[in-house]
């Protein structure tokens, strides 16, 4: 390919729930295959941005382009792993049933799973270390295993863009490692990954680009460009402490259960 066009473009997007605008006039472009960390204080609108990128939350204004086409033109190239899976854990499905759902978009809604589909499902489960749990009910798994099942489903979807909301928060070490290995694997497969995290060290060390948000775009670029005092002060306000020797501390723990609920804590005035 002689030119690599921007594969994900957000143009002047404003996102919100009804009257309440959470994210104002957001514009950025993510090149194909990039690893992007989305960083910002609690309630900055990270989850809201993800919901808009995946098409669950309609834009108030602006537009989102994937491969130069409007969001929704490609039916199956975006996979999304929300912070909390909003599924019915008592539903009668096994782990492999759940992972197979990732194939539904590609196999067509009326056809049966092919050999290839089954193979992809098996490989995805093995990659996430849950091959042995294939026939268990999804509700019987531990929290970390459940997250890995949904990661396996996202791989089985063979997306061009993978969105993960806080995959490192509140999970066991095995799942964290499996997630990090998955990121490396997806990078080698040229899959664009966009991941929100509270771990600024992780954002600086494992990602190509950092998107710093607080209800609007504060900075977007390489970790070196983004993680400077001015940007962090603007994003985190009083939660940021700059020490004399140049060390910066951000007091950020315990993300709230839902960042879009109506008592908004992070509005920095």
């Amino acid at each position: 390919m002689t030119h690599t066009p921007h594969r994900l473009e957000i143009e002047n997007a404003s996102i919100g729930y009804g009257e309440k605008i959470v994210m104002r006039d957001l514009s950025f472009q993510v090149p194909h295959g990039a690893r992007v960390a989305v960083v910002g204080p609690n309630g900055a609108g990270k989850s809201t941005l993800f919901k808009a990128l995946v098409g669950i939350l309609p834009l108030q204004s602006g537009r989102i382009l994937i491969h130069g086409e409007l969001l929704g033109a490609h039916k199956d190239c975006v996979a999304y792993i929300p912070q909390h899976e909003d599924v019915d854990w008592r539903f009668p499905v096994t782990v492999s049933d759940v992972v197979m759902m990732g194939r539904f978009g590609q196999m067509g809604w009326l056809s049966r799973p092919s050999k290839t589909d089954k193979q992809i499902v098996r490989k995805s489960m093995e990659q996430m270390g849950i091959g042995g749990l294939a026939n268990r009910s999804i509700g019987q798994l531990s929290g970390g295993q459940q997250q890995r099942a949904f990661l396996a489903r996202a791989i089985a979807q063979e997306p061009h863009i993978l969105l993960m909301d806080e995959p490192f928060t509140g999970v066991d070490v095995t799942t964290q490692e499996a997630t990090l290995n998955l990121l490396d694997h997806l990078h080698s497969q040229q899959v664009t990954t966009i991941i929100s995290t509270h771990d600024l060290n992780l954002a600086a060390s494992r990602f190509d680009l950092v998107l710093l948000l607080n209800h609007k775009l504060i900075a977007f670029g390489t970790p070196q460009e983004v993680f400077v005092k001015e940007n962090l002060a603007q994003a985190f306000g009083n939660s940021l402490l700059v020490m004399e020797n140049g060390v910066m501390l951000v007091d950020e723990c315990c993300p709230p259960e839902e960042e879009h609920d109506h008592h908004d804590h992070a509005e920095v005035k």
Binding site: V54, G55, I56, G72, K75, D76, V78, A79, Y80, P82, E85, D86, V87, D88, F91, P92, V93, T94, D97, V98, M101, F104, G105, W109, L110, S137, R153
Partner: protein
């Protein structure tokens, strides 16, 4: 074996048995969605909501099934309309429509006086009064409903289990949800003849709830549920023949017995 074959000497018993088995299977399959999506209240409401349709059909001498079908679809769609944007919660919308339709049905019925017998057939079913044309209608509608469920198995699975995935895969969740309600309404209409409106809800819930205790995947759950629905219908109808009890009640009580057995089996297994 003569006690098994004796009832079948009568043609109306043959038709009744066929109709009950078809309805038993149909209710049991649609019932899996009722149980899994928590629509038991809706099923009950829907069954009562078809009363005004039946009453209007009576007034104008039309086909009862057609009247019931029109009323059920109207109620199902208006529930979807009221709760779509979240202005009114779904169960609230159901409560409103349920009560309104039932009141309208009773109001229409109270203005007439001559058909107490037929009304009891509507409420509790009259499986021995299934005419050949009724049987064709029951079989045809059931085939269409089951075929739709088979074709849309995967979309219905995704919208029921994981609405977020449904949205990312760009499924028309709204349309599918309404379609499911329409199928449910048609199921209630079809079961009007065999178990009647007041017991249709039980046939939707009980076999499926039993199957839920015994299986771990959706497809087997549907099969087991269908099997229990069919068996309950056959056993219930024989009980009704030999002990001279209302067929709808006998069928529902048999299904309930299956549920209790499954529940006890599950309990003893987990100890």
């Amino acid at each position: 074996m003569s006690w098994l074959l004796a009832p079948l000497a009568y043609q109306f018993m043959q038709r009744g048995l066929l109709a009950s088995v078809i309805v038993g299977v149909l209710c049991a399959v649609m019932g899996t969605y009722v149980v899994l999506r928590g629509l038991a209240f809706l099923g009950d409401a829907m069954a009562h909501a078809i009363l005004p349709g039946v009453a209007v059909a009576y007034l104008f001498g039309g086909n009862l099934l057609v009247g019931a079908g029109a009323a059920a679809i109207l109620v199902a769609l208006s529930i979807g309309l009221f709760s779509r944007q979240g202005e009114v919660k779904e169960d609230t919308a159901i409560g409103i429509m349920f009560a309104a339709a039932l009141s309208l049905g009773v109001a229409l019925i109270s203005s007439m006086q001559t058909y107490a017998v037929d009304l009891s057939h509507i409420l509790f079913g009259n499986v021995l009064g299934v005419s050949p044309s009724d049987l064709w209608m029951i079989a045809g509608l059931s085939f269409i409903i089951l075929l739709t469920v088979g074709l849309l198995f995967k979309p219905f699975l995704v919208i029921s289990f994981d609405p977020v995935l449904a949205a990312t895969l760009r499924l028309p969740a709204e349309l599918l949800r309404n379609l499911m309600l329409v199928l449910l309404a048609l199921t209630v209409v079809v079961s009007l003849q065999t178990v009647g409106v007041s017991l249709a809800a039980a046939m939707l819930v009980t076999p499926a709830a039993t199957a839920y205790l015994l299986t771990r995947r959706l497809w087997p759950m549907m099969l087991v549920s269908a099997l229990i629905g069919a068996l309950s219908s056959i056993i219930g109808l024989y009980l009704s023949y030999y002990f001279n009890i209302v067929s709808g009640s006998a069928i529902v009580l048999t299904a309930t017995l299956f549920f209790l057995l499954a529940f006890l089996w599950k309990r003893t297994k987990s100890i």
